[in-house]
C-alpha cells in the first residue's frame, strides 16, 4: 500500500512537470525599486515579463523591451513611438540545462552580450508558508550581488525559474525581495501562450567581458549620447547636448543598482 502511494505521488509530480514543460508561459511581475539609496520616497515601478519557452529557455526583461523588440520586427516600426522607454535595457536568457546566464544589453548603437556563471546557494525554509495567487508558497533565502534576498516559491508549478537571474529552487519563484526592500519582484499573472517568439536577435549582440562592460557604463555615464553614435544620421549639435544634459541630470539619482558588486 505504501508503495502504491509513493507511485501515485511520483505520477502526480511527473504529470505536473509534463503539463508545464509542454507549454509556453508568461509570468508577469511587478518590479518595485528604490532608484536612489538615500531617498526612500523615490520608488519606481516596472512591469517585467518572464517568458518560458518549450525549448527550456526563459527570457526575462521589462515589458517595454519586449514591446520594442517585437515592434521593430513588425510591419509598423513607427508604433515604437507609442511606447515608453524602458528603465532597464537588459534581456536575461536562462537555459535550464546549465548554470550559464546570458544577459543581452541593448544600448541602441551598442548591443552587448554578457555571459556569467551564477551560483545561487539557496537555503530552504520549510516552516514558513503563505498563499500567493492561490498557490502554496514556501520560503527560501539567498545572497546575490551584495544583497540578501527572501524568496517565495511554489512547487505546485514545476518551473524552476524566477525573475532576474534567480533560478534553481524546486518550483517557480512568485515573490522575491532584498532585505532592505530596495528591489522587489511580485508575480501578478501567469499566462499560457499558444506560441512564442522571443523577438530577440541574439546574433546582433557582441560578447563583452564584465570588466569591459563596466568601463562602457562609466563612459556612457559621462557622455550618455555615445549610445546614439551613428555615422549615417546627423542631428543639430544642440540636440545631442540636450540629450546629454538631461540624462546626466537623471543619472545623478541612479545610485542603487540591483547588483552592488
Amino acid at each position: 500500500m505504501k508503495n502504491y502511494k509513493l507511485l501515485f505521488l511520483i505520477l502526480v509530480i511527473f504529470s505536473a512537470q509534463s503539463i508545464f514543460s509542454q507549454n509556453n508561459y508568461r509570468i508577469k511581475y511587478e518590479l518595485t525599486y528604490q532608484i536612489d539609496s538615500t531617498d526612500a520616497n523615490n520608488i519606481q515601478y516596472d512591469i517585467m515579463y518572464l517568458d518560458i519557452s518549450q525549448k527550456n529557455e526563459s527570457f526575462f526583461r521589462p515589458e517595454s523591451v519586449f514591446l520594442k523588440d517585437s515592434i521593430l520586427q513588425s510591419n509598423n516600426p513607427n508604433a515604437l513611438f507609442s511606447i515608453t522607454k524602458p528603465k532597464f535595457r537588459y534581456s536575461i536568457v536562462k537555459n535550464s540545462d546549465g548554470e550559464k546566464i546570458n544577459s543581452f544589453y541593448d544600448y541602441t548603437a551598442y548591443k552587448f552580450k554578457l555571459s556569467e556563471d551564477v551560483n545561487l546557494n539557496w537555503k530552504l525554509d520549510n516552516k514558513e508558508k503563505k498563499k500567493i495567487l492561490g498557490y502554496n508558497a514556501r520560503k527560501a533565502t539567498v545572497s546575490y550581488g551584495g544583497r540578501n534576498y527572501i524568496a517565495w516559491y511554489t512547487n505546485e508549478i514545476s518551473i524552476q525559474d524566477g525573475p532576474y537571474k534567480f533560478k534553481g529552487l524546486p518550483g517557480l519563484i512568485l515573490e522575491i525581495h532584498d532585505d532592505q526592500n530596495h528591489y522587489s519582484f511580485k508575480a501578478f499573472s501567469i499566462q499560457k501562450l499558444a506560441d512564442y517568439n522571443s523577438y530577440l536577435i541574439t546574433s546582433d549582440f557582441k560578447t563583452i567581458s564584465k570588466e569591459k562592460f563596466a568601463d562602457f557604463k562609466k563612459k556612457i555615464k559621462q557622455k550618455p549620447s555615445l549610445i546614439l553614435y551613428n555615422p549615417g544620421i546627423r542631428i543639430p549639435k544642440e540636440g545631442m547636448d540636450k540629450y546629454d544634459r538631461n540624462h546626466r541630470e537623471r543619472n545623478k539619482y541612479k545610485n542603487n543598482p540591483i547588483e552592488l558588486n
Binding site: L228, R234, I235, M240, N246
Partner: protein
C-alpha cells in the same frame, strides 16, 4: 500623443522619399547633397532637422525614439 504620431508618420513618409538640399551649421553642403533630411517633432514640442544616408528605417526609428530631441 496621437497628433505627435500622426505628424511623425507623415514627416517620415515624406522625408524618406524626398531629398533636401537645405544646409544647417552641423552639416556641410557636400554631406547634405547626399543625405535625405526631414523635420522631426519630438515629444516635448521641439522640432529638429534630421538628415540621414544609408540607414535602415528600423535603425532610424530606433535612433529617433531613443533620442527624442533629448526630452526627459
Amino acid at each position: 500623443m496621437k497628433n505627435f504620431l500622426l505628424t511623425l508618420t507623415f514627416v517620415l513618409a515624406t522625408a524618406l522619399s524626398f531629398a533636401s538640399t537645405d544646409s544647417k551649421p552641423s552639416i556641410s553642403e557636400e554631406e547634405a547633397a547626399f543625405m535625405e533630411c526631414f523635420d522631426f517633432n519630438d515629444s516635448c514640442g521641439g522640432s529638429w532637422e534630421v538628415c540621414h544616408e544609408n540607414v535602415s528605417t528600423v535603425d532610424l526609428i530606433a535612433f529617433l525614439w531613443e533620442w527624442d530631441g533629448g526630452c526627459q
